[in-house]
Symmetry: C2
DNA sequence: GCTTTATGACCAATCTAATGAACAAAACTA
DNA sequence: TAGTTTTGTTCATTAGATTGGTCATAAAGC
């Protein structure tokens, strides 16, 4: 499933790049990476750094979270609220949890 | 914006992990990575490999594309169709494109 | 309160990705 | 078709992440 998401993301990037009329070299330059790395990303390789992938995603206009920049800030804030309400560390009872599956 | 998406994803993972009652060590073990790396991921660092991040995302039950596994396959197929319709390479006219911004 | 456990941070050694160059093949244009 | 550009791929080197260990702090449970 991870693999599938990755290849899908790669295809989305490839399509987005084509729609914007960018060559691989051009997009790589704008993202500050090599064409080789961009090729890996579009291929859906698991290796590339998530930061560079997200940068490329942003450059081709993809929205991973289906929300725009402003929404990200707001949502981020709400996540912080949720985080403060949560216990700071996960603690196990004496008996092990058995939610393995 | 890339940075923001990364920190947000990290928080989502952290929350998801807490909701599932997993310690950092446990989640790291399941993902096959070290606790140090998981820490980086939850911190929203750009360095970690996208493959491992997606694996963690999947382990805590997050849905990046707001779709389940079956939807991924279908969507993937439709992306392939779109890809075949697209020109195989982006070609520039003699004159440079001037969509720089 | 005390004890135990989880987390955050840092480190050197190791492992792996990123790079840039080069080449071949494919694809677009004239 | 000929010629040019884009892309796919490989490879050695460079750069940077991952690891496993340890310590200190903090938080949860008793």
């Amino acid at each position: 499933m991870t693999r599938q998401a990755l290849t899908m993301l790669g295809k989305l990037i490839r399509i987005g790049r084509a729609e914007r009329g960018l060559t691989a070299q051009e997009l790589a330059d704008r993202a500050g990476i090599s064409r080789t790395t961009l090729s890996s990303i579009e291929k859906g390789a698991p290796g590339p750094e998530i930061g560079t992938v997200f940068e490329v995603v942003s450059l081709v206009g993809l929205r991973l979270f289906e929300s725009d920049e402003r929404m990200l800030q707001v949502y981020n804030f709400r996540l912080d609220e949720k985080l403060t309400l949560l216990p700071k560390s996960v603690r196990h009872a004496v008996k092990e949890v058995d939610d393995d599956f």
